[in-house]
Every structure is written in C-alpha cells, then in structure tokens.
Subunit: 285 residues, 4 copies
C-alpha cells in the first residue's frame, strides 16, 4: 500500500473533458487531490497538468494500481502520462570543473535534507573538488579532458548509466557537450549559465556584461540542447550592479544568484514541476 | 449565446471528488477549460478553485444555463460558488486624498484599456484631484471631512451604492474608515498601504522606515478590515534604499511601488483571482 | 548671491591630487560639501566626480565666482568641468508615438513636482496624445512621418532648438532616429527600450522574450546613439514572468517597469548624476 | 614599505574643509585615491568618509607614516579615524546552532578566497557542525547551554579573546546574548535575523510571516545590541512567496536569502564599508 503522495504529470492535445476524465478516475479510486495545476497553451494547442494526490479509503493501492486506473484515460486522449511516488527521490549526478560554489551549495542542501534528490556521484575534469566530495561520502569520477573528447564523454555517459542517474546537473562544468551527448541527455540534463540568457551566451558572460555596461546581471538554469545556451529555460534571477563594480565583482555577485537559480531548477525538476513545451518550459510552482 | 470566457470560483471543505464533479459537469456541457488553478489548504481544510472556460458545441448556453448545471455540485459539496462573464467589467469606485499618483496610474491604465475594470467615479475629501477626474469624464464626489465623520461616511456609502460599485479602492485616501463602513465593504475594498506590512503600520510609514534604517522599503495592497492595516494582504513589492536617501526620497521611491502594487491587486481582484482564506488570501496568478 | 546648492561634475585623467585641488578650492571659498562621489576607472584611467555643495560665509558668491575659483584646477588637470545650480531645472522635450504610459507617468511626476525637470513640450508622429498634453498646458508638436523622414527630423530638430530643450526623452517614440540626429543629440537623448538589453534588440522585444521562454523580463533606459539599442545604459530593471502569461501579458507587465526605469534615468540625468565612460555610464546615486 | 591599498575611514562633525584637509594630506604624501565615498547626514550633522588609496612615489611609506600624516587633520576636526591595510584580513569568529546553511556558505566563500576575512574558529552550543568545521581545519568550540548562561558566555568571550577575533558573526546561533556580552561586542558582532525586520522579531519569524499571509519574505543582517533584533541594519533582501507555500517552504526559501544577506554584511564590514550612524548604518558600497 502506498502511504505517500503520488505525482501525476500529463501532456496531450488540449480538448474538452481531459480534467473531468482524470479527476473522475482519481475520485473513483478515492484519491484525495492535494495540489493541482493545469496549463493550456493557446498557441501550441497543448495541455499540461500536474496533480499531487494521496490515496484514501480502506483499499490499499499501489502505484501500479493507479497506473492501471489511468491507462484508459491516457489512451483516450493520447497522453504522455507519468506517475511518481513523491518520496521516491530522483537520482542525480553532478558535474563540475573548478568553480565549486554550485556544487557546495547543492551538496549542503542535499545533505541537510532540503533538496528532495538522491545525489549518486560527481563527475569532474579536474581534481580540485575531490576532497569536498569525499567528505560527503560520494563517488568522484575524475574524467580529465586530456585525450580525445569522445573517449572522455563515453566515460561520462558510463558514469551516468552505472549510477542510474535520472538527472545530470552541470554545476559549472565549463565543457561543451557533444551533440551526441546532448541528445542522449535530452530533457534530463540541467546547466547553469552564469549570464542572463539570451544575452551573453558563450564564454565569460560576466565580462561581456561588464563591457556592455549593464546595470543588472543574471543567471539562467536551462535544459541542455545541442544548440549552445539555447535550451529551454527553467529559471532565471537577476541582481543589480553598479559602475563601481569591476568584472571580478560581477563574477562574485553572480555566484550567489547561480546557487539560488540552479538549486531551484533542480528542485522543480525533481518534483516533476517542469514540462517541456517546445523551446519553452511550463513550470508549475 | 455566450461567446465570452466564463470565470468560475469555488470555495468549500476539501474532500475527494470535488474536481471530478466540477470538471465532469463542465465537460458534459462542452465547456473547454482555458485556465484552472486549485489550492487545498492543509491547515484550514479549505479548498479553493478558479476555472476559466469557454462554451463550445452547437448548443448556445447562457451564464444561467451553466449556473443550473453547476448547482447540484455546489449543493453536494456545500460550496460558495460564483460564475462571472470575463467580459463583464467590474464596477470600481476610487477614493483619494491629496496624493494623486495611484489615482493617475489607475485612471491611465483604465483609459488605455489595460485594466479590466469600469471606473464609475472618484470620491475625495479634497478638491485637488477634481480637474484630473473631470478630464477623464468621471463623476467627482467631493466629501470633505469638515463636519461629522458619520455624515461624511453616509455620503461615501451613498456614492458606492448609487454608482453600483462592486469594488472600492482606497488609492491613498488617508482616512481611517469606521468599523461600520469596514464591515459594509468587507472583501470589496482594497487599500494601498505605503509601507511593508506588518512593519510600519499607521501614519508616515516611510518616515518610520527611514528612522529604523531599513535597506529595503515596500508597499502593501490589502483588503480593508476594521483592524487598521491588518487586513488580508493581496500583494506586496519591495525596493532597495540606501543611507544616502532621506525620508523624502523614501516617499518618492515608494510611489512607484505603490502604483504597481495597487494596480496588480485591483487587476487580480477584478479578474476574480483573489479569494479570502481567513486572515490570508489565495491569489491565483 | 546663490542660496541654492551647486552641482559640480568633473571628468579627467586620473592622477594624484585631483580631489585635494578641487576640495581645497571649494574650502577656500567656504563651500560646504553636501554630497560627493568619485570614481576612478582602473581600466580606462579616467576619473569622475560629482560634488554638491552650498556656499557659506559672509561673502555672496555667484555661479560665475565659483567657476572662476575652479578654472585653474580645471586647467591644471585638463578637466571637463561643469557647474550647475541645483534649482535650475533642466529643460526636457518628450517624444511619443501611440503608447502613452511613459508620457503619462513623466507628466504626472513633473506636474506634482516630483521630477526636477521643466518639460517644454511633446513631439509626436501621431495625434493620440494631444488631448493629454493639452491638459497639462504644454505645446504639442505633431510631426507625422507621412513625407520624407529628413524633413520630419528637421522639424523635430527645430522643436528641440526652439524650446531650448537640454534633454530629449524618447518615451516610447517607436521611430529610429537618423545617424545625423543621433549625433546631434549625443549624450542628451534618452530612450526607453522595452526589453532587457542587450537581449531582444529591435522590434517587439516582449514577443521575442516570450518566444525564447524567459522567466524574467526587463526594460532599459539608455542614451541614444546611431548604433540602434547599443547606446550606454543608464538604468535597467527586471520583473519575473511565468509560463502562464502570454506575449500580451509580457507587454502589460513591462509597462510598469518601463515607467520606473525611464523616470529614474531622467531624474538622474537631470540631477547631473550620469556621466559617459566610453560605452558605459557612471551613475552617482 | 606598503605596496597594498590602504583604507581610511573617518567620522566627525560635518563642516567646511574636511575633504580638502584629508585629500591634501594624502596628495602631499603622493597617495593615489582609488575609491572614495562621503556622506554628510543633514539630520545628525555627522560626516562619514571612506577612502581607499595606494602609495605612489619613490619614498616608501608605512601605515604608521600615513597615520602620522593624518594625525593633525584628525585632531583639527576631532575625528574618529582609522587606517587599515586592505590585505590585512579581518579575524572572524563564527557562531552557529543547528542550522548550518549560513556557516557552510561563509566557510566555502572564505575557503575559495572570495571573502576577504580570516576565519579563526567556530563556536556552537551543539555538536552537529563539528565534522564540517573539522574538514576546514578550524577550531570548534563546543559550548553547550547546559549549565549557567553566564558561565557559557564567559567561555564564549574567552574564545573571542583568545582567537583575536575582531568580528563575531552569529550565523544562525539561535541564542539571545546577555546585555553584558552585547555591550562587549558592540559594533563588532553581526547577526542574521531570518525575517524582514522590523517585522517578525523574535522566534519563528517565517511562521509569523506565514500566519500574516505576507507575499514577500526577507532576511536582515544587523549589528547585535542588547535590544533584541533592534540593532542597526546592515543589509536586507527579500523574496516573493505565494499562498501555495507553507511555513516550511517559507523557511526553505528564506535560507537562500539569509546566505546572501549575511555574506554581504560580513564582506562590507570586513572591507570597512559600514559605519554606525546612531541606530542606522552608513554602507559605502
């Protein structure tokens, strides 16, 4: 019997009767809806829904029982439907280069139980972060960029596969993934870009921002696609800067926003709040 | 036949089957759900829902037809249920004293068609704003505080009743309403407080904030209750200040936030997005 | 005799002794420094300073007296130096097309004495805003784009010259100025761009932002240069948006930030707080 | 010889000639001013100044040489004057209870060289954070509250004295210091309050904020005084919340702001940017 909350996400063509069909199937199974959000995109004609419910009633029901109950509805509306137990933490692999702030932030939040994920290891092309990762008792996959990129990426992919990671987080990994790896990780790899996209793509975004003389800087968490820094945006945040700050101070100020933005994006993804809608995302907060 | 969108809001004890019942009733009437939000408050056990739908199908349906369709559901779950046509603009009466910025902002937004309301007049205890209000072709109710407060409030109440105002907005009215008038206007009177509640209640909040040496100031839009500045908060916004600003600069900076905060609160109320949940509000954005 | 505050701004190569020379000249003339900010740009080697002072002592001193006192220092350090009386309001000409929100905001702030400027007229290529401008008793220069652009711009330039405008503000003017006019107005023409530069240059920035799926939108006030939307940025502000808002809602939300950003930029320019530093600005708040 | 930047801070009654005297003394000693900010408080009549300069010229000068040069000026204007070498890191002692997020954030920033301080140890009334502090190779002073508070505080005071700490940071220490200890630490003890002061003083501020139904939460870093949560505010920051978040989510969201706010306050204090102005602070950013 499932005591925990269940999270249902669906995506389909929008039409009359979807909510009625889902809600009726749930009600007939004595599911108590805790939280629910819908969104119908008038432009694309797509419908998105996230519903959190808990089983009630005398009859114990498993996740599979609910899947069976929902199957006819999914078929009828040609839905992409997923059902997760809320207490089943998503397995996450982190990747980092030399800037450890996002890594440190995520590890601390995970360790103190604030982030509903299960970190299964850290990949890095450098050795700098090994000691920190060791402290947390996590495997450290040192994958230097020394030789061929393809070989390094094959080992990266292996680390993902072996760890069972459902999500890969590039926490300032500073390497451009091949198209191949991007496709392999589609929809399950989040990058933190240290700039306010779509401004300042590519390298040294804070230095670009400084040169342009902006008065506000930002950071962006997005899904990785083969189109560099063009993936669907999950979360952004900004912060005021002034003429008296130099590019290094932009970098320093930026780190605090990067921590916050990446941590939110990971949480929302892990709670199944983020859904792809073409080049954009639906984020049910 | 109703071509427009309809807005349904409900409030009741939370239990299994509410969404199913509502959504099924709508689906059977060929209503296409455009937007929908729910919220179940685990603390109070109350359920809130706002659903926007448009009629489809060959059979024309009026607002009353839908009311009839929904009535059995409302009875079954003992709901407070309301149904509005989205193109039926809410009638709003504004009240102002001498500071005209919020008044000017609301009038401009209304005049340029950005705010989905129908302003039916302006009440003031001063004459200063008459010329501006005249320009917009609106009635100006000059209600000086000269004599007895009760008499002035009776005339205020008359202005509300005669204009058919469904919402009264205190756009820097600077007068404390009697308990009686507060009760009369319960849930349909919004005030802008020029401070970040619950800090700095009462008079001269920016000067209080300056004396306390805060680094961020704010403004608060809330429903008026007989408990001064304690009504349910609809919206708040903040802005950074520094030691180099004096109390007058706090006031000046504050005006921009007041405009934005009050305008959002009025829009959300007029779109039936705000629901009372005890001393708090549910705001379906 | 000058009773008012005086505002001194200087710009020169940075070196030892600048502040000492300026401050000593002022002290010898019994000037009491009310407010002062410096900035030395390590990258460009330029020094910027803004000092507000008021004359004290028995000897009355005019603006020209102080100019005479400061001249030797200016010569010694090869300074660009300007001295203004704080109560001498800057003459400002506004330009607008059909979106009146920034115009309305600036006119109200000016009218209520909040903005330390002297608005001398409004230029527009449309007639829509005439009635509003008339209400404020200001000249309305209707300059339609019907014929040749050069002819229209000649009339625009004439309006600037005849009104004695020291600053021209493009308050959603929606016309691209010719290189010629841009050069003529260099450093004294502020534009509000309804997007977060350098993202989303050119037309329909909110629609661009919507398509890209950003989670934060912004507005930018900048000096106009012949390089479209590339001029030095004076002020920017941002606001969160969500997937549930469509492009029209982006536009609507954006208007509030545009008002605030443009109003701040105009105030700071009028108070001689903004200085050009190559493609960037120094803003002494 | 001093190769580094020097930071001069002064505070005195405001009058004519202060800047001239200081700047002239510095110029005569061939000091190149890198950064300078003044503030004259019209209300209190106090003048504040922070100037960063670097020695130039052939003659080597020590910190004491500059102190000697400035002494006559300090005497003349009855100044509180301090001179620090910018590369002389301030010694900081941290105090924490069971919530480790601020501690973890400060330790990481210090360890990665981002925070210009020298952490000399951590005090705690619990054992939970020992392992983390050990990893950073810092002394952990476990001072349980078991016995008499006075005895515990005596040991706390000893830890401060023995470590040579110039600043004590209560990084979620959750204990109210005695009046005595507050006085001992006046102006050199920073606390992070997990609420937007002056709202929500005392215990469980996020739960208070939740009950009041605010739409924005905040955190406040302030100097500790014997008047609980009433000390001069150094920095504040806010974040939007919605009805769908419960009190625990308020807490979680708040942690990110606490990290940022406390880290900024510590940096600014360590860089001698913060000066007391009665119950308020001057912060030269």
């Amino acid at each position: 019997m499932t005591e925990t909350h269940l999270i249902l996400t669906i995506r389909c063509r929008d039409t009359v009767g979807i909510v009625a069909a889902i809600a009726s199937a749930l009600a007939e199974s004595h599911a108590f809806i805790v939280e629910s959000s819908h969104y119908g995109d008038a432009e694309t004609g797509l419908f998105f829904m996230r519903t959190v419910f808990r089983p009630t009633g005398s009859m114990a029901k498993t996740l599979d029982d609910f899947r069976a109950v929902l199957r006819p509805v999914a078929v009828r509306f040609d839905m992409t439907l997923a059902l997760h137990a809320a207490d089943q933490k998503m397995k996450v692999l982190l990747a980092v280069s030399r800037h450890g702030h996002c890594l440190n932030h995520l590890l601390h939040q995970w360790h103190s139980g604030e982030l509903p994920i299960d970190i299964v290891g850290v990949v890095s092309n450098h050795e700098e972060m090994r000691r920190l990762v060791d402290w947390y008792g996590l495997p450290y996959h040192y994958l230097p960029m020394a030789g061929e990129k393809a070989a390094q990426e094959a080992r990266f992919r292996m680390a993902i596969a072996m760890s069972g990671a459902e999500l890969t987080v590039l926490a300032r990994y500073m390497q451009i993934l091949s198209d191949d790896l991007c496709r392999y990780l589609e929809g399950r790899c989040i990058n933190i870009h240290h700039g306010f996209l779509p401004s300042f793509k590519g390298a040294k975004p804070y230095h670009q921002a400084y040169s342009r003389g902006v008065k506000v800087v930002g950071a962006t968490a997005h899904y990785v696609t083969s189109d560099l820094d063009e993936g669907p945006i999950i979360e952004q945040e900004t912060q005021r800067v002034s003429h008296s700050l130099d590019a290094d101070a932009f970098v320093r100020n930026g780190k605090d926003i990067e921590n916050v933005v990446l941590s939110r994006a990971v949480r929302w993804h892990a709670e199944h709040r983020v859904m792809l809608n073409g080049a954009r995302t639906v984020v049910f907060q």
